[in-house]
């Protein structure tokens, strides 16, 4: 239950190192570079949204109607309420769908 797989531990530590690099990177960069070029900044700004989109888009596209409807409802909720409300909405839709319609 609490065993450690060496490969998994190595993976976790690698993830920790790259995460730390991103957290110190901006400080190092700004004390070296006077200004980040505008196009580079635009590209950096777009990275998180682009990556997260690639993770959820195929799930939406390949998912059943239950997942599709849940994600659409959650998205609409997210325009007005915080992310935690989206989780609740998506979960309620999926559970309701599976209970009443079947999935």
């Amino acid at each position: 239950m609490t065993q450690f797989d060496p490969h998994m531990v190595l993976l976790i530590l690698s993830a920790a190192v790259v995460t730390y690099v991103t957290r110190i990177g901006g400080y190092v960069l700004i004390t070296r570079l006077a200004r980040i070029p505008q196009r580079m900044e635009a590209a950096l700004n777009a990275v998180p949204a682009a990556v997260l989109t690639t993770l959820m888009a195929p799930i939406f596209f390949n998912g059943g109607l239950d997942i599709k409807v849940a994600m659409i409802v959650a998205c609409l909720v997210g325009l007005f309420l915080p992310a935690s409300a989206m989780l609740v909405a998506g979960w309620v839709v999926v559970m309701g769908w599976r209970h009443f319609i079947g999935g």
């Binding site: 531990v9 580079m40 998180p48 682009a50 993770l55 994600m71």
Partner: protein, 240 residues
């Protein structure tokens, strides 16, 4: 160490710490569902300490992806931190080396938001205050992960309690939070289409790199937006 500052940090972090608990528990439960042991998932929350990227890692574990690609994806999701540490640089210059080491390790989204808020309000950002705030976020996060893992081990099939929908909705939530950024819709639409096509014709996990690259390339190529609006980093992100 200034005790008053430390306690002010603790107080300031209470709400954020509570808000991160469900996400920590979500990570723990899904991690356990993906076959991580309680020790491994707690270790991951303790040393990576970046919720979205931890969940990205879990999503890819399920796809039998090469380890280097998982690490690369985690790097990509955490890229935003580069902007954070650049932005807080002016407030933490007076920290010593050891303090800076921990400052950057603890620099999660709400920690950044609170630091910027305090700095911009003209109050001094002391290490004691920063550490107090961080303790209120870090400790609940790690504990919630462990508890989520324990609960996950009590539940058999993640789908039976609707856990499978939470991961895509969680990612969706972060993406929706970015909607005020320059060129948001073209970037997201491009990444989505590229990812779906790549998923179908190239195969997982390449849809992540191909889709992300398509959106980022578009962002770099699009003409700069006139307003030159800065991303409002302080209000976009609420979780670890």
């Amino acid at each position: 160490m200034n005790r008053a500052d430390f306690f002010e940090g603790l107080r300031g972090g209470t709400l954020v710490g509570l808000a991160s608990v469900p996400f920590g528990a979500l990570f723990g439960a899904i991690a356990h569902g993906q076959g991580m042991s309680l020790g491994e998932l707690t270790l991951m929350s303790g040393v990576v300490y970046a919720g979205a990227s931890q969940l990205v890692g879990l999503d890819l574990f399920g796809h039998d992806v090469a380890a280097w690609l998982i690490v690369l994806s985690i790097l990509a999701v955490n890229f935003r931190h580069i902007l954070y540490s650049a932005a807080i640089a002016r407030y933490i210059r007076h920290f010593n080396g050891v303090q800076k080491f921990f400052t950057f390790f603890l620099l999660v989204d709400p920690q950044f938001a609170e630091t910027i808020k305090r700095g911009e309000a003209g109050k001094s950002v002391s290490f004691a205050w920063y550490l107090g705030l961080a303790a209120m976020i870090y400790i609940p996060w790690v504990l919630a992960s462990l508890v989520g893992g324990l609960l996950g081990s009590l539940i058999g099939d993640p789908r039976s309690i609707g856990l499978d929908v939470l991961l895509p909705v969680y990612f969706l939530g972060i993406v929706v939070g970015f909607r005020k950024r320059d060129n948001f819709l073209p970037v997201v639409a491009t990444s989505a289409v590229a990812a779906i096509v790549a998923y179908r014709y190239v195969g997982s996990p390449w849809h992540v790199s191909i889709g992300a690259l398509a959106g980022v390339a578009l962002a770099a190529l699009l003409p700069p937006v006139k307003s030159n609006r800065k991303p409002n980093l302080a209000v976009e992100n609420h979780e670890v």
